[in-house]
């Protein structure tokens, strides 16, 4: 399966988000670049609201990710609960 990725700014707001992604995606691998964190995963990567909320102890709206997102690869689908990046082939 091809790699999907999500790149986020390296800052305090994204720390728990990255932690949540690693927790929810066994194939996710962190690639630390200058000033940014790129998370690669095999074919599919899910960002789950609930996991972020558990880690931060506050309500989280997945649209907040707009502020700290840098780039990504893959088809995207966003609901209230999840952002999914995926390749179909």
């Amino acid at each position: 399966m091809s790699t999907v990725f999500l790149a986020l700014q390296t800052n305090e707001e994204t720390r728990p988000i990255i932690e949540a992604i690693l927790q929810d995606n066994p194939s996710a691998v962190v690639d630390e670049q200058p000033a940014m964190v790129k998370i690669n995963a095999d074919g599919r990567l899910v960002v789950r609201r609930q996991t972020i909320e558990e880690l931060t102890g506050r309500d989280y709206d997945l649209q907040e990710l707009q502020v700290n997102m840098i780039t990504m690869s893959g088809n995207l689908d966003q609901t209230d609960d999840e952002i999914t990046l995926f390749w179909k082939a």
Partner: protein
């Protein structure tokens, strides 16, 4: 039990439907083709506009909220950076030339992108793409503005940025990015979406905004990092829109596939050629290197683009043919570009220089197949000549490619010792091309590309001198006249970094900032 249950808020998908399709209406007293006059002529067939959905499901209310937050953060950082004399923290003053290139070459494109999306979005009968294009149009003008704001701080101290918009419309090499975007906005709305939304945004902007901005961050430029990543956070949405537009068009009708394939082929190549500037920024202009152009290309085009085209294969879309030539060029692109700008340093709005010994070693390590053999000897010769007082400035005018407008500097695919040269006769005139791909683009739409405003031709025709210039007087200095027309000051805005006022001032100011006597 009589528990009161809170009324559930609308979910994201319902909210998106209500705030896009829910706000649309069917015209009654005007014909659809009068309202959307550009929608048919490109041959794209759309049967159900409602199938277009923004996968982020971003609605205008949320858009304003998060964009406002981005702006607040950005301006807090820019203000603090300026207040702190942050410009003195860049690795060294050579770095500033990336900023000049960015401001005069890229920021004006953001503004044109703003106009392009405002125009294209207006043409689509579907409310989904209209809202998405509106957001992107606003994003793009934001990028133009924040870049100008961020760079205005540098403009107080360093040369070459004083009239960037004037430069963009006149300086020879800036016709490369300018003509690229002009080409896109003069296409139909579907081609515009494929050219900018898909080919440029999805396939290529990562190469501009991600490794370069990340590199700027580690060259001490907090301002560029901040506006760059703030812009790129919008790009993530643009990329998604770009991919969605392609899938939507392809799914609507099989007749669309060959049209879209041709556009992808064309615009991948056009965009790649523009990125020549970025290749040289990565490999030569960031004093602290963070990733080579070749590495960036491999990650963001070969790996990522590879995955993308594999995914699109189900629609019958193939990786553009030009990818083969690009693969052959990746060991050469940045070096051939830097050599050109080193040559033409007298006519540019930024400074160039020869890499130092450590930098040569880094280039050798990153380009083991090409650097030591082909480019190092050339650089060593130039360095030697410069040390003897013969720093070479090329004052002849180069032949330009009719399509990409880049001087004919690229070599034959597979033979990096021979300049690649193609030509076409059209209606009694001869046209020159840097490559088979630029030639093929011309051949498909010759009536468009014969109109190209080529800086070298224009200079020869006497159109790039200040008004009232008489090029026939004795001792007429064409370069001096052209620089005046560019509003660049010879000896201050151009020439080698080593003799620049920027270098001298930076050293003096940084000294003042650290010494007590």
């Amino acid at each position: 039990m009589d528990m009161t249950v809170a009324k559930k808020k609308l979910g994201l998908k319902e909210r998106y439907a209500v705030m896009t399709r829910g706000l649309d209406w069917t015209p009654s007293y005007q014909k659809m083709e009068d309202i959307y006059p550009y929608i048919a002529y490109e041959g794209i067939k759309i049967h159900d506009w409602d199938k277009w959905e923004d996968p982020f499901r971003l609605t205008m209310d949320a858009y304003w909220k998060y964009q406002a937050e981005k702006e607040r953060k950005l301006y807090s950082v820019l203000d603090a950076f300026t207040q702190n004399n942050g410009h003195l923290n860049v690795t060294d003053a050579r770095y500033l030339n990336t900023v000049k290139l960015f401001l005069s070459g890229i920021s004006p494109l953001e503004y044109v992108a703003h106009r392009g999306f405002a125009h294209a979005g207006r043409q689509f009968p579907g409310p989904g793409p209209r809202v998405a294009c509106l957001m992107q149009s606003l994003d793009e003008i934001r990028h133009a503005q924040t870049q100008v704001h961020a760079v205005s701080n540098y403009n107080k101290y360093y040369n070459g940025m004083h009239d960037f918009h004037h430069a963009h419309d006149r300086v020879w090499f800036l016709s490369v990015p300018k003509s690229f975007f002009d080409d896109a906005i003069t296409a139909g709305p579907f081609e515009f979406m494929v050219s900018i939304g898909f080919s440029f945004e999805y396939v290529l902007t990562n190469l501009l905004f991600v490794p370069f901005v990340s590199g700027a961050a580690y060259n001490g430029d907090m301002a560029a990092m901040t506006f760059g990543f703030s812009a790129q956070s919008d790009e993530a949405r643009h990329m998604t829109l770009g991919l969605e537009v392609i899938k939507f068009i392809l799914e609507q009708d099989p007749d669309n596939v060959p049209i879209v394939q041709r556009w992808i082929d064309k615009w991948t190549w056009r965009g790649y050629r523009v990125l020549t500037l970025v290749a040289m920024m990565m490999d030569y202009m960031l004093p602290k290197r963070t990733m080579s152009w070749k590495e960036s290309w491999e990650i963001y085009f070969e790996e990522n683009g590879g995955a993308l085209f594999k995914d699109l294969a189900r629609y019958g879309i193939k990786m553009p043919q030009c990818a083969e030539q690009i693969a052959l060029e990746k060991d050469h692109l940045s070096h051939q570009a830097w050599s050109t700008f080193y040559n033409y340093a007298a006519a540019a709005n930024f400074h160039t220089w020869m890499p130092d010994e450590d930098e040569m070693e880094w280039l050798s390590a990153k380009y083991p197949n090409s650097f030591d053999k082909l480019y190092r000897p050339r650089y060593e010769f130039w360095r030697e000549q410069a040390a003897k007082g013969n720093r070479f400035y090329n004052k002849t005018l180069p032949m330009l490619c009719q399509t990409c407008q880049i001087p004919m500097i690229f070599t034959e695919p597979g033979d990096p010792t021979k300049i690649c040269y193609r030509e076409v006769d059209y209606k009694g005139d001869k046209y020159h091309f840097c490559s088979d791909h630029c030639k093929a683009i011309f051949e498909h739409e010759p009536e468009k590309y014969v109109q190209a405003w080529l800086p070298v031709h224009q200079i020869y025709q006497g159109n790039c001198f200040p008004e009232g210039t008489d090029p026939t007087v004795e001792g007429f200095d064409p370069l001096a006249a052209v620089l005046k027309y560019y509003n660049l000051e010879h000896g201050r805005d151009n020439l080698d970094f080593d003799v620049s006022e920027d270098k001298k001032n930076f050293a003096e100011w940084r000294g003042q900032a650290t010494k007590n006597i």
